[in-house]
Amino acid sequence: MSFLTELPIDLAELVAEVTAPEHGGIATFLGTVRNHHGGRGVLRLEYSAYIPMAEAECARIAAEAAARWSVAVALRHRIGRLEVGDAAVAIAVASAHRDEAFVGCRYAIEEVKRRVPIWKQEFYSDGTVAWVDPTRGEESGIAEGAGHGGWARG
């Protein structure tokens, strides 16, 4: 099972992967492409990855959560071109009780954002393109995008 996929993500499939008769709670998180970022309209985006490391890092995150909270974890991140509303990442965490499911799910998405080598190019309604840098905050993100007009496509 790959953690990265170029195909649309089906949350029900992830839920099915972690469903088991001994589990009472399944927490999920679905990250979708928003139509705005830093005050600008987003038309679509492109995710790219350092694929073998991203796969390894996702596997480590899933294993860590599974071991720490005795949960079952399913995790998928989409790469390639995505449109507004598409699911970029989905996580499903099942456990006997809901506490562990929620905490494990939250852990997984935070670690995905913190550790998995994936990058995102946003294509804006004003015709510009920018690499998203979450470490700089949304305002700086705008500045970087604006300051690198050379990256604009189309």
């Binding site: 490391m53 970029a88 840098d133």
Partner: protein, 88 residues
């Protein structure tokens, strides 16, 4: 133990996303005098054309794991220089 007949190591360096654009390439081979570290690899890359546009301390990975600049490198290692992550 490093043998006296191999005073240098060859490593593969990967660049991604905005960093690949800044240097105009995604992969390069570097040979460094031993003992070498990830930080030395970084200094070599920052000396290349466009390399001055990389930050002084970017995220780095060695053989698919995050590492700090003091991590030693061996021949055949794969070092990746990672722009700010934006997954999720």
């Amino acid at each position: 133990m490093s043998s006296p007949t191999t005073p240098s190591v060859s490593v593969r360096v990967l660049l991604f996303a905005s960093y690949a654009e800044r240097l105009g390439r995604e992969v390069l081979e570097l040979t460094l005098p031993t003992p070498a570290t990830v930080g030395q690899v970084l200094r070599e890359v920052r000396a290349l054309p466009g390399g001055e546009r990389l930050p002084a301390r970017p995220l780095c990975a060695l053989n698919l794991s995050h590492v700090g600049p003091d991590t030693p490198v061996s021949g055949g290692d794969e070092i990746a220089i990672l722009p700010p992550l934006a997954g999720g």
